[in-house]
């Protein structure tokens, strides 16, 4: 019996149709900077407190994140440019409205965008169905208006969602969801209409959980390289996805940016790396492997 939430068929990675990436690449590498704005005086939804340290505003925590937009983003972008990385930004779409220079810098680089909600201080968990539908209309329209791009995927705002989220995403025309940390390859997510897949994001190769603890840039570089080495080896048989998740207020700190440089220099010196975006991974997977994966999982699960 499938277990709740019954969205993804069990499919062991050793027993699946083989994935071949374009040009026989072993690893599809995507870099996901989280470009965010946390509100000065957010509305508390009664459940998850954006600024738990003290009554709002929490100037220290607000300004720490604001550093990302004023300073860190630009230092991070310099490092990414050095390695010709085309990112897939996890975007609080209100950033486009508040801080147009950041939007222009991302459009200029032809980066892709997935929605990360409107603000990082507004969570989906308690949205009604109609509020959530409106939320997708809003994020799709806002992205289109400011970047000309069609929204294709989402990492829930501050990684939040509802039980309805995959269905409503697919209904709104989105094709991928990155809240799923369950695999090294894309997999289909069962929805009421259309096709939706997960594209592996990372809560491990991610500067936010890492640098809240005592780990520092050298450790970040070490684990990113180790992850790559393993996936690169396995990807010779069947293509793997590797995501590095960044936050400009963290990786853009003056003591850290060099470690991103180190990681990208290492990975990009290898042949067989498809440096791409979640948009392109999702489209490629749906075009080439979605139906086969569904059929295979159905057979496997009887």
């Amino acid at each position: 019996m499938p277990l709740p939430p019954n969205r993804v068929d069990y499919s062991p990675i050793i027993d699946r149709p083989v994935i071949k990436w374009p040009n026989d690449a072993r690893v599809a590498l995507w870099i996901a900077p989280n470009v965010e704005h946390y509100e000065y005086e957010p509305e508390f939804d009664g459940h998850r407190d954006p600024w738990p340290r003290m009554p709002y505003p929490d100037v220290q925590q607000y300004a720490y994140r604001d550093y990302g937009n004023r300073v860190g983003f630009w230092r991070m972008a310099d490092v990414l440019d050095k390695h010709d990385i085309r990112c897939c930004v996890s975007l609080n779409v209100a950033v486009l409205e508040h801080f147009p220079e950041i939007g222009e810098a991302m459009v200029q680089r032809n980066w892709d965008f997935m929605s990360h909600g409107i603000y990082n201080t507004r969570y989906l968990n308690h949205y009604t169905e109609e509020q959530e539908r409106e939320f997708y209309r809003d994020t799709i329209d806002t992205l289109k208006r400011h970047t000309g791009k069609q929204l294709k995927g989402m990492l829930g705002p501050a990684i939040s969602g509802t039980e309805r989220t995959p269905d409503l995403m697919a209904e709104a025309g989105l094709i991928y969801h990155t809240d799923w940390m369950h695999d090294d390859q894309p997999v289909p997510i069962r929805v009421n209409s259309g096709k939706l897949v997960s594209v592996p994001y990372s809560i491990e190769l991610n500067d936010a959980p890492l640098f809240r603890q005592h780990y520092e840039g050298d450790y970040f570089a070490e684990i990113c390289k180790a992850q790559f080495d393993q996936l690169y080896q396995e990807g010779a048989h069947s293509g793997r996805v590797m995501c590095i998740a960044l936050h400009p207020y963290l990786i853009g700190q003056p003591h850290r940016a060099r470690y991103l440089d180190d990681v990208l220099g290492y990975i990009m010196s290898h042949d067989g790396v498809w440096q791409t975006t979640a948009d392109d991974i999702a489209e490629y997977y749906i075009a080439n492997y979605y139906d086969e994966a569904m059929a295979h999982a159905a057979k496997l699960n009887g």
Partner: protein
């Protein structure tokens, strides 16, 4: 108020200004980095007023049952022992201290006030006590009274009114910058969002931020995140190297916020000493007090 979706910041205190779009900031003698070291002297109260607010972890060990001898005395170590090590280390490297002193310290530790003054430190406002943060729980009148009490205590103890301010635990309400300006302060260190000073909006005269590097605050790195002290030295050095490189194009400020009860422990001080030594051996570093940096910035704003 939740943010309105429009251009700029979602509060009235300063303008949106990405660093890469600014004019060039030049420090005295074309220094690349203005180095400011802020040293906190703050008193945790034995029995704080019932309506006061502080964060659970302020003071290090976290709140426990009353009376809490260990937590209070751990902080007191800074006043009795740590401060002298820290000031000696700064003097060794020719770095003038900027001491953030709360009213309770100013009123009850005349020896320390004198010692800091003799060491050439600038003394800036740091609230009333560690156990009384500014927050939105305060009424406007109570906050005004709080700031004025802190400023008056420092003025009495030091003979002059403070020019700068750092809230205990970086605490502010949504009106703090205006009230600080109204009280005659010229700069505030609570906003950890930049690598250059910048102007704040105030109807009461010129007001600036002197942004601290929050990640390099010893409480953030050593206490909250538990970075080991050798790695902390490396953090300071790596941060400096990057700011030094970037400061060649556009001047940077490196404002460190340190706590003598923490960095002043015998096993830690040497790591600070070595990091500051590396910075000060380099040419093009301007070690200055908060006021010197803000005054220079005011008189020599960035130019295109």
């Amino acid at each position: 108020m939740p943010a309105e979706r429009r251009f700029g910041m979602d509060h009235p205190h300063y303008d949106w200004s990405p660093l890469n779009t600014r004019g060039i900031l030049r420090w005295p003698d074309n220094a690349r980095v203005a180095l400011c070291v802020i040293v906190n002297l703050e008193h945790p109260e034995w029995d704080p007023p019932a309506d006061s607010f502080t964060t659970p972890f302020s003071g290090g060990l976290g709140a426990r049952g009353f009376p809490d001898y260990a937590r209070l005395s751990h902080r007191e170590y800074g006043h009795r022992v740590g401060i002298f090590r820290v000031l000696d280390t700064l003097r060794k490297h020719g770095i003038p201290a900027t001491v953030a002193m709360d009213a309770m310290t100013a009123e009850n530790y005349p020896y320390l006030v004198r010692h800091c003054q003799e060491a050439g430190a600038e003394i800036i406002g740091h609230g009333v006590s560690l156990s009384q943060m500014i927050s939105s729980n305060m009424s406007e009148d109570a906050e005004r009274e709080y700031i004025s009490h802190s400023v008056a205590a420092l003025t009495r103890a030091t003979g002059s009114a403070p020019a700068g301010w750092l809230g205990p635990e970086y605490g502010e309400s949504n009106r703090t910058p205006q009230l600080l300006s109204e009280a005659g302060l010229r700069y505030v260190c609570d906003w950890v969002n930049d690598e250059q000073p910048y102007p704040l909006h105030s109807p009461h005269g010129e007001m600036f931020t002197l942004p601290v590097m929050w990640e390099l605050d010893d409480v953030s790195a050593l206490w909250e995140r538990r970075v080991v002290v050798g790695r902390y030295q490396q953090l300071l050095e790596e941060s400096f190297e990057t700011l030094y490189e970037d400061g060649q194009q556009n001047g940077r400020v490196m404002a460190l916020n340190l706590h003598p009860w923490l960095i002043g422990q015998p096993f830690r001080i040497g790591y600070l000493d070595r990091a500051l030594g590396l910075m000060m051996r380099r040419g093009g570093v301007w070690a200055a007090t908060g006021s010197e940096i803000v005054d220079w910035y005011r008189d020599n704003p960035p130019t295109a």
